[in-house]
Amino acid sequence: MSTPNILVLAETHDNTPADITLELLGGARQLAAATGGQVVAIVLGQAGSAAAEKMVGADRVVVIEDATLDAYSPGPYLAVLEHILTLESPRAVLIGSTTVGLDVGPALGAKLDAPVVGNCLRIEKQDDMLSVTSSLCGGKILADVEVRRGPAILMVLPGSFHATDQPATPEVDRRASPVPLEPGRITFDQMILPEAGDVDITAQDILVGVGRGIQQEDNMEVAEELAEALGGALCASRPIVDQGWLPTTRQVGKSGMTVKPKLYLALGISGAPEHLEGMKGTGLVIAVNTDPNAPIFDVAQYGTELDLLDLAPELTEAIKTRRVAT
């Protein structure tokens, strides 16, 4: 039997909780109100310790103060989390659908034989079970699922919950690792930062985003000309960066940049959740995509099914004429 408590795996940077962590705490607050339990945040490592008091929404924060946990490495992380989950026996554990969460969540599920749901958008208690909505197929399909047993391991997409606006300082419990920590066979070496010198897309008001719909490197010029006419910069989805057509500093999304321009003109981008999470703060989204079912149209204010290769040059002309006229 599990307790009614809801655990949150916290992530921190620069002595502050990550945005996703504050969102998870907000979601956990609502869920704990329904289960009648407490919200417990887990902070791993000494480096995150200073963020413990800022875990708004948690009743209790458990900090495992061990330098081995300061940088992510799978062995020590899993050893500690497996122990804490067994000890705390929560109804659910909320984990961000982040680069660490995507590894840790399914591994814990397999170790503890616990149910796992990825890409969660909504979590509610219904009778004895949790009802969870998950996004599949690049955002084209939603699934409502039932999770009957605890601990339910739920990996949550950024933007699914809001941080709570009822701040209260949590009780903080700082401890040494409850289990001996072996470095394991996969160990952190060093962080590699992107090369400086490129355009900072996070500071741009106008962005033209290019996706796989551009098809060929030669076609990048059409988008470049449009960005220039608009007085903005080019950014891209991951396949374009994978191809090497733009540097990694231009990638928008989970493993790329988080942008907040006044205008995001998406050309041939499907709108996968991993891309959308990098453009949550955009003012106006206009999407050009030949597939009327593309999820990008769910977050755009205006859209068109025209072929981007036909539309982009016309739009460049239309902008230029209007700029001359005013």
Binding site: L102, G105, N119, C137, K140, T249, F297, A318
Partner: protein, 255 residues
């Protein structure tokens, strides 16, 4: 170095996705399938390691969708062995059962390195890689972009937000969940795939499914509500371009 690569079939998202009559699963009968994108990157990474450091590459795939074409294409790229796990029915097995079948086929290879895509778009219960790793008794690292062989082990770069990567030292054996290979999957001409079809033998192995209790029950699958969708602009290219330009001027975004 011995490398095993897992290649999975997923529905092609370019085609419309249908839901079965009972409303709780994708209708796979009418779907067209292709290789999971990050698995394709895993294969490319394996071939790059074979070229740079020397390795044998064995590919393991479950038998559904368009698996034969995927395997012939892998053969044309120069892999050493193609293991096809045959299924009792032509439905994809549940994740735990799939992990068990894959582990059963991969175990005897005694691979130093197992590569699998870090995600598939039809995974409801999180990534398969960590589950497979546990079955194999190996450590797992996912969201990896680029693997290089050095003395005594490998270095793998794990992606973090902001175009930042963590370089990790990997002592073998291990399972890596690949997001992207060092360079994009290579193109193979159709003629090479045709040649591979004639000369390639699959190593077929029956997949024994362990009966497992579903941990998660799907109640309903559906397309997202179109209620909040964008206002669609229709007309000729020139008309739509004019409308967009006007909207941008009206809102003061373009001056």
């Amino acid at each position: 170095m011995k490398i095993a690569v897992v290649l999975r079939q997923v529905p092609d998202l370019i085609e419309p996705l249908e839901i079965v009559g009972s409303g709780n699963a994708l209708d796979l009968d009418g779907a067209s399938f292709l290789v999971n994108e990050s698995d394709d990157h895993a294969l490319e990474q394996a071939i790059l390691l074979k070229e740079s450091a020397g390795a044998t590459v064995d590919v393991v795939a479950l038998d559904f969708g368009d698996v034969d074409n995927t395997l012939y294409s892998a053969a044309a790229k120069g892999v050493d062995r193609l293991i096809k796990i045959t299924l009792e029915d032509d439905k994809p097995p549940a994740p735990k059962a799939a992990a068990a079948m894959l582990a059963q086929a991969i175990g005897p290879i005694e691979a130093d390195l197992v590569l699998i895509g870090c995600q598939a778009h039809d995974e409801l219960q999180g990534a398969l890689g960590p589950v497979l790793a546990l079955k194999l008794g190996l450590p797992y690292l996912g969201v990896v972009r680029g693997v290089t062989a050095g003395d005594g082990g490998l270095q793998a770069c794990k992606e973090f937000p902001g175009a930042v990567m963590a370089r990790m030292n990997v002592q073998l054996p291990a399972v890596l969940g690949i997001l992207a290979a060092e360079s994009p999957p290579r193109y193979v001409p159709v003629s090479r795939i045709r040649a591979a079809m004639k000369s390639t033998q699959f190593d077929e192995q029956p997949g024994a499914a362990e009966p497992t209790e579903p941990a998660v029950v799907v109640r309903r699958m559906y397309h997202p509500e179109p209620a909040e969708r964008a206002e669609m602009l229709v007309g000729s290219e020139a008309e739509v371009a004019g409308r967009i330009a006007d909207i941008l001027i009206e809102r003061g975004i373009v001056k």
